[in-house]
Symmetry: C2
Subunit: 212 residues, 2 copies
DNA sequence: TGTACATCAGTGAACGCGCGTTCACTGATGTAC
DNA sequence: TGTACATCAGTGAACGCGCGTTCACTGATGTAC
């Protein structure tokens, strides 16, 4: 896992240590969990001295912020991909499923992302934060709701619908990993069916959804 | 905040240090956040030496478990109370709202509760854990669904509905604190209306709910 | 009722540890002339 | 094209800190006789 082994061959100047540190943090996170994510451990994982990160980040918090930011970008890419691969009503469910799967596949990163968001008391969904090309994950959900029937002029209602969808996905993302739902998943024929069924239950579509 | 001041008057034997430690942990948690919850800090807050807790808990993890356990009990009491104060269809929403309010009022404790649950990969909802008199919070949701029209013999569907409701509440509980929803709350006339509206959106009732 | 003694529940000092951060330094790089 | 030099991006040792845990201890309590 560690990059330290290649230290003897690495030149004195790293090239892109900032990038390497964020990558090392992600590796560490998934291998050891959020509690293992110290600045020293990240430097160690990147094969660099404990003081080196300070040339790229003001302090530990700034490094963590960078990791979280990259997490939100990865999530957005996953959701973009899911949307591109589906059509019609399926898209909204596909977004939700890709969200949950991202959380399942990157649980520690997902935690860091929300920890950072909580510190700022805001999801990274401000217009200024958004990738101008694609918008961001939150806007994507809202736009998809509009594409499938939500009234874009009913702003309050639209935002409510977006929040509801986001809450549903986040709640399910955190719940889906628990062991006691294994038998439910099995009964329904797999994880995918389980997620589908729960989303369906929440009736998140803008109109004419089938209730339960 | 600290109990240390009364140390000179406290007898050598504490009486119920276990209780005092859990209380101190809760106080500390809400005052300083989850990252401040060290075993030494808890002992300090309780006005006792760092070694004293070891007469009541095997290690730090066991103390944290006790704190989390008490959290789940508090949550259950809050939900019981909310259910008792309402009737009919309102009960389900009332349960959700009381859940979210508990998380809002005890954010750090709420975090510790889920951290402990994640470690065990299970919510504390096993029958053996349940208070025999009242069941537990999760069962309460399920029973309330039954009381309001869910078919108790359709086990898979019932459990799905319960999971959906729980996910909705958890998702909203974590989301509701974010700053960027302030204007939404204001537009809807307050936090209570906001929570109502989101829950309504998720259409969690067993039948004939009104969609959006 | 008094006394000996085992047990219980504290104390305080010490352990080793990993942490975030700073500092004087040095090797590599790039630019001005 | 070669050289002087400023700047950049590393090193490694050191700092003080709070942590979880252990240990020999001691004061208080309760029980047997």
């Amino acid at each position: 896992m560690s990059e330290a082994k290649s230290a003897e061959s690495r030149p004195y100047h790293h090239g892109d240590l900032r990038r390497a540190l964020v990558d090392a943090a992600r590796r560490l996170l998934e291998a050891e969990g959020p509690s293992a994510l110290s600045l020293r451990a990240v430097a160690r994982e990147a094969g660099v001295s404990p003081a080196a990160p300070y040339h790229h980040f003001k302090d530990k918090a700034e490094l963590l912020d960078a990791v979280a930011h990259e997490g939100w970008e990865m999530l957005q890419l996953a959701m973009l991909d899911a949307k591109a691969r589906t059509q019609g009503r399926e898209q909204l469910t596909a977004l939700g499923i890709s969200y949950v799967c991202f959380a399942r596949d990157n649980p520690a990163l997902y935690r860091v992302m929300y920890d950072a968001a909580r510190d700022k008391e805001a999801l990274p969904m401000d217009v200024e934060d958004a990738n101008p090309e694609n918008g961001n994950a939150y806007c994507m959900v809202r736009d998809t709701l509009i594409e499938h029937g939500a009234d874009p002029s009913a702003e309050t209602h639209l935002e409510l619908a977006t929040v509801a969808a986001w809450c549903a996905a986040h709640g399910l993302a955190e719940m889906a990993g628990f062991k006691q739902f294994e038998h439910l998943k099995a009964e329904l024929g797999g994880e995918r069916q389980f997620l589908d069924a729960v989303f369906n239950h929440m009736g998140l579509f803008p109109k004419d959804h089938d209730g339960c």
